[in-house]
Amino acid sequence: MSTAVLGQGTRPVGRGRPGVRWTLTGGAGLGLGIALSWFSLLVLIPIAAIVATAGDEGWHGYVDTLTNPQTWAAIKLTVGQSLLVTGINVVMGTGIAWVLVRDRFRGRRLLDLVIDIPFAMPTVVAGLVLLSLYGPKSPIGVNVSNTRTSVTLALAFVTLPFIVRTVQPVLAELDADVEEAAASLGARRVTTLRRIVLPAIAPAIAAGAALSFARAISEYGSLVLISGSLPYRTEAVSVRVLTFVEGGDRTSAAALATVMLAVALIVIVALDLLQRRVARRG
């Protein structure tokens, strides 16, 4: 890894904790102020507008929205599939990052090039292409269209880059010394992986997983075509929100959106707590 001015070779791996934190002084305080202002204008105030609109009918609105069986089915499907895909991504994403950083083989660079493509492809096109490859006209005879598997497929597609790209720079930054020290002390490979490498990349995995989950629960474009949006079977929350908006019912749309925000927050916080525990074991 390119080294900074004073030389980085002596840092132990897997500290996880950043050491002493600075308190806010003038410059940092100003920076925080600017960052918060931008964040408010861009994110916090619009989210507040959503929550306020959801509250137009008070708790009544939330309860009505959640108890609608079709909406509830959509929530279960979306959250369940998103958790599943996040789990898949944790495994596959870490594996891909490993291969990209620590392996050498012909075509590795090509693999690196392809990873970010799901982001750059507009969801409308992603849906069309996935439908043609894994739908009724599939060249390999795999037809998952209008089934729950298609939801998993579409979500796996749009969330592929997250964990790979968050783990990649951290893995690349890891110091070989500690692992070698462990090996020279007789640790088996599995132990080294489990007690040194894993805690070091746990924060990165968690960060990527949080993003992956968040993106998955909000997906619309690529999902809606291949899943067929069948009520109770393959209808995602984003479709229900659109239905409410289309019907002029902004309150229910906002209520459902608020519920999903809460779900996302819970998962993000849970992942944050989880990775702290894993990181600490190192």
């Binding site: 390119s2 609608n68 069986p69 079709q70 069309l128 439908l131 043609s132 739908g135 009724p136 006209k137 269209s145 209008n146 809606v224 075509l225 067929g228 949006s229 069948l230 009520p231 109770y232 079977r233 209808e235 479709v239 659109l242 239905t243 409410f244 908006v245 289309e246 019907g247 002029g248 019912d249 229910s252």
Partner: protein, 342 residues
């Protein structure tokens, strides 16, 4: 070149590009220029409007008029205009999308008091089938037979999908011995046969073209365009079906040229051009060949038994409340009571 220099050069180049490009990309904003017309329409109008706009610009009234256009799903466009998107004329898929603009004060209440009651283009609900019509679909009753796989956009998330479902209802109600109960049963059986309920008309078409389903509930103009574009499909115009009426209105603060444009669109010249794009004319005396139609020289066969929203459903307001209300709508209830595919 050291790595650091390369890095800086790349970043500088990246930052220079927006500076250069900001000259190119214009921004929108309200325009009160008399010779600037902003037209907001539903998606497939993009191709249909191009020749109409050029033809208008060749007329004395349209000389020197510049157009800004925006096309998208009818509901989205209606909401955008209600949210501030400047429009001199709106041309949408169904009347409720214009009505919401009347409610927002953007379109005058008298918009539909012209010779065509505010309607600019017509179409019909038809069945899009695989080339050669292998299942021999000819009428609505064929759609509810067991094993027939139907695709229709979901009327809850696509305003323009409402035409399909209402057409089915009208057919069942109009059949001998038809009552509300039998109509309800018919629509339920139809939706039970649905293998997909995509969010929009174009998604439904994409799903059908990708191989899903045996028959798609579609609009005649879309079907004609699909065939003209070479897609492997045929369409069937059933002997009884619902007339699709697309309204157009000039907004309250529109430039005076907007009314001139609307008049042109309603004229024989304009309607002929729309006919070539697959839309049924709303005035009489328009005859033209239509590529893509089942019979290009007789593109719009008369429908023996024509249903309309006004005559068979008492107008859109009544139809919307009765069938599509969030909680009490008949169709809403049918869909939420369905266990499709399960």
């Amino acid at each position: 070149m050291t790595q650091r220099t390369r890095f800086i050069a790349l970043t500088a180049a990246a930052l220079a590009v927006p500076a250069i490009l900001s000259g190119c990309a214009a921004s929108s904003g309200a325009s009160s220029d008399e010779n600037q017309l902003s037209v907001v329409g539903f998606s497939v109008l993009k191709t249909a409007n191009e020749p109409v706009i050029s033809a208008f610009q060749k007329t004395p009234a349209g000389k020197g008029v510049a157009f800004t256009t925006s096309y998208g799903a009818s509901g989205d466009q209606s909401r955008a205009v209600a949210g501030g998107l400047h429009a001199d004329e709106v041309h949408l898929s169904l009347t409720p999308d214009v009505q919401s603009l009347v409610d927002a004060g953007i379109v005058d209440e008298s918009w539909d008091q012209n010779a065509t009651h505010g309607i600019l283009t017509d179409s019909e609900v038809v069945f899009l089938v695989r080339k050669g019509n292998p299942l021999g679909i000819s009428g609505w009753d064929d759609l509810v037979k067991p094993g027939v796989k139907v695709i229709t956009p979901n009327p809850a998330s696509s305003g323009s999908a409402k035409w399909n479902i209402l057409a089915a209802w009208a057919h069942a109600k109009d059949a001998p011995g038809g009552t509300d109960a039998t109509a309800r049963d018919f629509v339920t059986r139809l939706l039970d046969n649905a293998v997909a309920l995509p969010g929009s008309g174009s998604d439904a078409l994409a799903s059908f073209l990708a191989g899903n389903g045996d028959v798609l509930l579609a609009y005649e103009n879309d079907s004609i365009e699909a065939r003209a574009a070479g897609d492997d499909v045929d369409y069937v115009v059933p002997s009884d079906t619902l007339l699709i009426e697309n309204p157009a209105a000039v907004t309250t603060d529109a430039s005076s040229k907007a009314q001139d444009f609307l008049d042109f669109q309603l004229s024989k010249a304009g309607q002929t051009l729309y006919a070539k794009a697959g839309f049924r004319p709303v005035i009489s005396g328009v005859h033209t060949d239509v590529p893509g139609a089942n019979d290009p020289s007789n593109p719009f066969p008369a429908v023996a038994h024509q249903y309309t929203i006004d005559q068979d459903f008492g107008g859109w307001d009544t139809a919307n409340t009765r069938f599509f209300d969030d909680k009490t709508g008949i169709i809403t209830q049918i869909i939420s009571g369905l266990k499709i595919g399960g």
